[in-house]
């Protein structure tokens, strides 16, 4: 029930037989995934296969009907879940960046630590400036989201999430809305994070990128995990016909 029960040799995220429906539409039909600390997991699959829903269930943006999701010992499926505790551990980056348009890049990064964690302003500002530098946006601190390109906004969104010092980062198709030329700068930022040992879960359509950074790849179709494995075997030696068909269409 509380975070101290979590043992680092056990998975940091444990998803067991999760079912999720929107009305009559069953989107997840018994999905199980374990993620170890420091692992980079990519979830791929056709549109509507439940990838995004799954990742949103991990930080309780969507609730689940049955099964269990545990993040560092916190039971996400529990109705009495302390959502704030969960969201301090889990950062999330969205497809549409979702920055706060009335705040500058720096303020976007500083807001949550100041308002939610009640940390002192000057400490937060030092950290926020360092994060903006880390996502290679030095000089853009005082720009508003509307003045930044999609790729720049997405990097601010990553910095904003990192400012909460999460243990896990969720990336929900974060490059899907970007212009091709800005995709790379965002992927480089994510790669830096992964190399520093951040536990990452990515829903992505960037197969080359998934192959490069993932420790493990999950392929979902119609609400179930069809196949999973390390990138080499997954991409070069897929067993299931559905996986092979999907890969043949996009590779």
């Amino acid at each position: 029930m509380n975070a101290t029960q979590w043992d680092p040799t056990r998975p940091i995220i444990s998803i067991v037989d999760v079912h999720k429906s929107f009305g009559d539409l069953e989107v997840l039909k018994g999905v199980s995934i374990d993620v170890m600390k420091g692992e980079v997991i990519c979830i791929i699959g056709p549109s509507g296969s439940g990838k995004s829903t799954l990742i949103r269930c991990i930080n309780a943006l969507n609730d689940i009907q049955s099964g269990s999701i545990t993040v560092e010992g916190l039971e996400v499926h529990d109705a009495k879940l302390d959502k704030l505790a969960l969201r301090r551990k889990v950062g999330m980056v969205f497809q549409q960046y979702n920055l706060f348009p009335h705040k500058t890049a720096l303020e976007n990064v500083m807001m949550a630590p100041i308002k939610v964690l009640k940390e002192p302003r000057d400490e937060v500002e030092t950290r926020a400036r360092a994060l903006i530098k880390k996502v290679r946006l030095e000089g853009k601190e005082d720009s508003y989201p509307g003045e930044l390109s999609g790729g720049q906004q997405q990097r601010v969104a990553i910095a904003r999430s990192l400012a909460m010092n999460p243990d896990v980062m969720l990336f929900d198709e974060v490059t899907a809305a970007l212009d091709p030329e800005t995709v790379k700068e965002v992927l480089v930022t994510i790669k830096d994070l992964a190399e520093e040992g951040m536990t990452c879960l990515l829903v992505t359509h960037e197969m080359g990128f998934a192959r490069e950074i993932a420790d493990h790849i999950y392929f979902t179709d119609r609400g179930v995990i069809v196949e999973h494995g390390p990138p080499e075997t997954f991409f070069d030696d897929a067993k299931d016909p559905r996986t092979r068909e999907f890969l043949s269409q996009i590779l």
Binding site: L99, A112, L117, M164
Partner: protein, 252 residues
């Protein structure tokens, strides 16, 4: 200079009996106008502030998870939006005013109600305009993308924090033009306080033209000019504010 000014209006009243600008040369009548203006300003200022607060709080409660809270807000809006403000004013003062306690005055025998007629005018007009403000802010809130609120949610913001830090600042900007209109209406509606004998500008003007029928046209003229100026200041202030709140690269 001032003498020339007053002499001009004395002469004007002598030569044109319908154009007796009595308040420009008789200090007692001028004092009435000044007093009326003060009350109108106090009413307008207080009602603008309170009605905006009611709008902000009401719009928040409208997003409440509790269906009963939402129904109460909806009932409030329906009542105050769909009944005449003048009737509301009379109701507040004559009906609800009966039930509020009063204190004994300094002379030892008069009973002074703790909420004066000015107080009731502020309360009733604020609730009236507040009902519209709730709807105005609600439409602004609906213009804030769900995904922006979701981002705040994912960062651990509480519902109230999401509202005050993200939703409201954005909704406010969208709502300003509609809010502008409603506040202009509110300032003009303060003249209805005459119905419960609040000595605001209209009350004073009516008193003057009752006492001096020859001053009827000039006093009406004064009323129109005063409100044009008053509302003009409000609109100017609001549009400055709108410009100051504009976000670079966002919206029009």
């Amino acid at each position: 200079m001032l003498e020339l000014f007053t002499q001009f209006f004395v002469d004007l009243a002598d030569n044109h009996p319908r154009w007796n600008f009595i308040f420009f040369y008789e200090p007692r009548q001028w004092a009435r106008i000044v007093k009326g203006l003060q009350y109108t300003l106090v009413l307008s200022f207080a009602c603008v502030i309170f009605s905006v607060i009611i709008g902000v709080v009401g719009a928040w409660l409208q997003g409440s998870p509790s269906v009963w809270v939402r129904r109460c807000v909806q009932g409030y809006i329906q009542f105050f939006r769909n009944t005449p403000p003048f009737v509301q004013l009379l109701f507040f003062y004559f009906a609800l005013g009966q039930f509020t306690p009063s204190v004994t005055g300094p002379d030892g025998w008069t009973e002074i109600p703790i909420i004066s007629n000015v107080g009731w005018a502020i309360i009733s007009l604020s609730f009236f305009a507040g009902a519209f403000n709730v709807e105005i802010f609600r439409s602004g809130i609906e213009a804030v993308p769900e995904s922006t609120q979701e981002a705040a949610d994912a960062l651990g913001f509480s519902r109230l924090q999401t509202y005050t830090e993200v939703v409201l600042p954005l909704a406010f900007r969208v709502s300003l033009p509609a809010l502008n209109n409603n506040l202009v209406n509110l300032v003009k509606t303060t003249t209805q306080a005459i119905g419960i004998a609040v000595p605001e500008l209209l009350y004073q003007c009516v008193s003057i033209w009752n006492d001096y029928p020859s001053a009827l046209y000039p006093t009406m003229l004064l009323l129109f000019v005063s409100f044009i100026v008053l509302v003009g200041i409000l609109v100017l202030g609001m549009s400055r504010w709108e410009r100051a709140m504009r976000i670079p690269g966002y919206g029009g």
